[in-house]
């Protein structure tokens, strides 16, 4: 770490507020700059006996918390113990290293989106939406697609130049791919809410492979969304864009015309 970074962690008295305002290296903050305090809770599959609190402390220390205070330990039956730990985390974050998924496109008003589609495609843009696999959580995809929309913004159905085919829930990947071919879809929008055992990742990879295979001359845009997706994983999952918690329809529409206009290869 540079000495400049170090001094940011230990500001000189007097100018602390100024220096601390935008340092590059930061620690967790309990009640004092640089104190590194965090709260952690977890269960260990061990009985709550003399060893338990020591085990919890060691666990926390292995996560880089030192000193670690085991402030709560509770037996849950004979084989498990729940712990709450407070302590100082050794992590120093270099903010310059944090990958930022900045929005790579401007947010456009509805009329401009309609105009752009018309001028580029000279026809309506066809979008197919679905929850694939066994996922039946449609509220998220409906929020994006239905006229009613989300957070005060109308959904994609509201856009004159967008044709929305919403297949609903629990759609099988082959059915979705077939429909995309039949409709000659420009974009496939898929929602995945259930994440247990990484179902969302598995399903997305499966869909991406199937779609690519079904469209040898270039597949439609593939956009996935859901509250627990990491937007930085597009390459890993083989999709064009990932939207997470709190997405609004306007963002999705703006992204689509941006991609259409060549923002995506």
């Amino acid at each position: 770490m540079t000495s400049e970074a170090l001094s940011a962690l230990h500001p000189a008295p007097g100018d602390a507020a100024a220096v601390a305002r935008h340092p590059r290296h930061v620690r967790a903050y309990g009640d004092t700059t640089g104190d590194g305090m965090v709260q952690l809770s977890f269960t260990l599959p061990i009985p709550h006996d003399a060893r338990a609190e020591g085990a919890a402390q060691m666990f926390a220390r292995k996560m880089g918390i030192d000193p670690a205070m085991v402030v709560h330990a509770k037996a849950m039956g004979p084989d498990f113990t729940f712990f709450v730990v407070y302590g100082r985390s050794s992590v120093i974050l270099d903010l310059a290293e944090v990958p930022v998924v900045e929005r790579e496109f401007p947010i456009l008003p509805a009329n401009e989106i309609n105009l752009t589609i018309r001028s580029i495609l000279n026809r309506r843009l066809t979008v197919i939406g679905a929850c694939v696999g066994t996922d039946a959580h449609t509220v998220g995809i409906d929020a994006i697609l239905n006229v009613k929309g989300f957070a005060g913004e109308k959904g994609l159905e509201y856009y004159r130049e967008i044709k929305v085919v919403n297949l609903g829930a629990q759609v099988l990947v082959p059915d979705l791919v077939a429909r995309a071919r039949a409709e000659n879809a420009d974009a496939v929008l898929v929602s995945q809410v259930v994440t247990q055992k990484d179902a969302h990742l598995t399903n997305t990879r499966e869909l991406s492979a199937a779609l690519t295979a079904a469209f040898p001359h270039g597949r439609p845009l593939l956009v996935v969304g859901g509250p627990r997706f990491d937007p930085a994983m597009t390459a890993e999952l083989g999709v064009d864009r990932i939207f997470s918690k709190g997405t609004t329809p306007g963002e999705v529409a703006s992204y689509l015309v941006h991609a259409l206009a060549g923002g995506v290869q």
């Binding site: 849950m76 498990f80 696999g133 629990q170 247990q196 179902a199």
Partner: protein
């Protein structure tokens, strides 16, 4: 009237009107269910007669058998006559052997007539009576165990396990019981309700839930019997009937001594896109089985408030409860078996949110004084702030306590994040216990004034319910569903999955299970049943 009642000043005449309208709205659908059958109803009949097992692909023999019958003679007359006519040939040692042979294409089914028909009728009736006898025996055993071990006081604490692996579920369920759960529910894997068959055997993989199978039912009931004995309190087991196999799962539940079942007349339609007609027919049969088994059903009105707004749609919950009540009564369920559902889902940032929740919960309590209401915790507004989520669950528990709800589904702070951790349940139960013990009879101090926020809101919801019921009577329930009345989800009467499994009963349709469940065959099968 219990102590919890009569705080809102509801007009009994208005309440009677609401019930009358619900009955009228339900009538055409009941008629539909009376005059139709489904593949799953027919499979349930054969299951009651004792068929088990599945082929190498995991498709149960009962499916193979009913499919063969259907292909060859149709199901308009029911599966019983052709099947027992085939068995009467003496070529097959039993139902499973018959099914195996049928799947291999080696059986020719015929609709028997005359004497053969009468023999098939009698044989099927006796065979099915064996299954019903098992259901009856389970019911008696439950009653004895409860009498011996003791029944926990209301509200019953309802906890979910959902690891996907029955062998992880069992110790978790026992742990939950030790921590205070009165009822353990095993959530199903996400895809199961759209399967048109019931998987077989003990299962260890499932997404966000564990498959409902007869063997899983048995394993879990055994685990809970063990812990019930240890704790000196009967711990109830719950699973889910709703889905394409409602009649069969209800049957298996009766045969494995489950105690409660999620069973809603419309959930499958709205939240699983199952065909409405299929659902209403399946629902009626499944409830007849539950009625016989002494199982308490749980309805699913809480779900409406996850897709619709809890204030705007409050009256749809009441309407659905009144419909569920009538459908339930018609199928033979007693009031104590009607675990009508509702939920604490009003946006917590709304002014007076807590008092509006009190109004809704108290209204349901006063409308259905003898039903063991099932009250569901906040889910929609659980947004990842686990601390606040834990608090919100406490206020849910408090509403439950003040308004005397019968079954409290315990809220989890990680709702909105993951399926519950072991520690979530432990913390959640601590939450429930605090509220229950510390606020015990707070209802004693709760007296909403007649013209106050709470009583006014309750009367308003009731009056909106009556308006909606009136419209449903005019348009028909199926059209109301198609128009998106419940959960703002539109489900046309001919859409959705499973319509092809529906069949209109022909004159001469025969269903030995219905005969027994509707009390028409009592004399004939006295021996089998006692």
């Amino acid at each position: 009237m219990t102590a919890a009642e009569g705080k809102l000043g509801l007009d009994p005449e208005v309440v009677r009107t609401a019930r009358r309208l619900a009955e009228r709205a339900a009538q055409p659908v009941i008629e539909l269910a009376r005059t139709h059958s489904t593949v799953s109803v027919e499979r349930a009949v054969v299951r009651l007669a004792g068929i088990t097992g599945a082929d190498a692909e995991g498709i149960p023999w009962v499916n193979r058998l009913v499919d063969s019958v259907r292909d060859q003679v149709g199901l308009e007359y029911g599966v019983a006559l052709p099947v027992w006519a085939a068995l009467a040939t003496g070529d097959y040692p039993g139902l499973t052997a018959l099914a195996r042979e049928a799947a291999a294409g080696g059986v020719t089914f015929r609709l028997p007539t005359g004497h053969a028909a009468e023999r098939a009728r009698r044989a099927s009736l006796r065979a099915v009576a064996g299954g019903v006898a098992r259901v009856d025996a389970n019911r008696r055993q439950r009653e004895e165990m409860i009498a011996g071990l003791g029944d926990p006081p209301k509200p019953w604490i309802y906890l979910i396990v959902a690891t996907g692996d029955i062998y992880e579920d069992m110790p978790q369920a026992q742990a939950a019981a030790r921590e205070g759960a009165d009822i353990v529910a095993v959530i199903r894997s996400t895809g199961q309700s759209l399967l048109d068959y019931v998987p077989e055997g003990a299962t260890r993989e499932g997404y966000a839930g564990t498959y409902a199978t007869q063997e899983n039912f048995r394993l879990m009931r055994t685990a809970l019997d063990e812990v019930s004995a240890e704790l000196g309190r009967y711990v109830r087991l719950t699973n889910y009937a709703s889905g394409l196999c409602m009649p069969e799962i209800a049957t298996l539940a009766g045969m494995e001594r489950l105690d409660m079942m999620l069973n809603d007349s419309m959930y499958g339609i709205i939240f699983r896109d199952i065909n409405p007609q299929r659902t209403f027919i399946d629902q009626r049969f499944s409830r007849q089985v539950h009625a016989r088994a002494g199982i308490v059903i749980n309805t699913g009105e809480d779900n409406y408030l996850t897709t619709a707004d809890a204030v705007d749609a409050a009256h749809t919950v009441i309407v659905s409860q009144l419909l569920n009540e009538h459908f339930g009564h018609e199928a033979g369920l007693a009031d104590w078996q009607l675990g009508l559902g509702h939920a604490f889902e009003i946006n917590p940032s709304l002014p007076d949110q807590f008092r509006l929740e009190l109004a809704h919960a108290q209204l349901v309590r006063e409308l259905f004084p003898d039903a063991p209401l099932k009250y569901m915790p906040p889910t929609k507004h659980m947004d990842g702030d686990v601390f606040f989520g834990y608090l919100l669950d406490a206020f849910f528990n408090l509403v439950g306590t003040i308004t005397g709800q019968g079954i409290i589904l315990v809220g989890m702070m990680t709702e909105g994040i993951v399926t519950p951790f072991l520690s979530d349940r432990d913390l959640a139960l601590k939450n429930v216990r605090y509220v229950r013990d510390a606020c015990g009879s707070l209802a004693e101090d709760f007296h909403p004034p007649r013209d106050g926020v709470i009583a006014t809101r309750a009367r308003q919801v009731l009056s909106e319910s009556i308006d909606l019921l009136g419209r449903i009577c005019d348009d028909g329930l199926l059209d109301a569903i198609a128009a998106g009345t419940f959960g703002i989800t539109k489900r046309p009467a001919t859409g959705g999955k499973g319509l092809d499994g529906v069949v209109a009963q022909a004159a001469g349709y025969y269903n030995p299970a219905t005969e027994i469940l509707e009390g028409r065959a009592h004399d004939e099968v006295q021996d089998e049943l006692s």
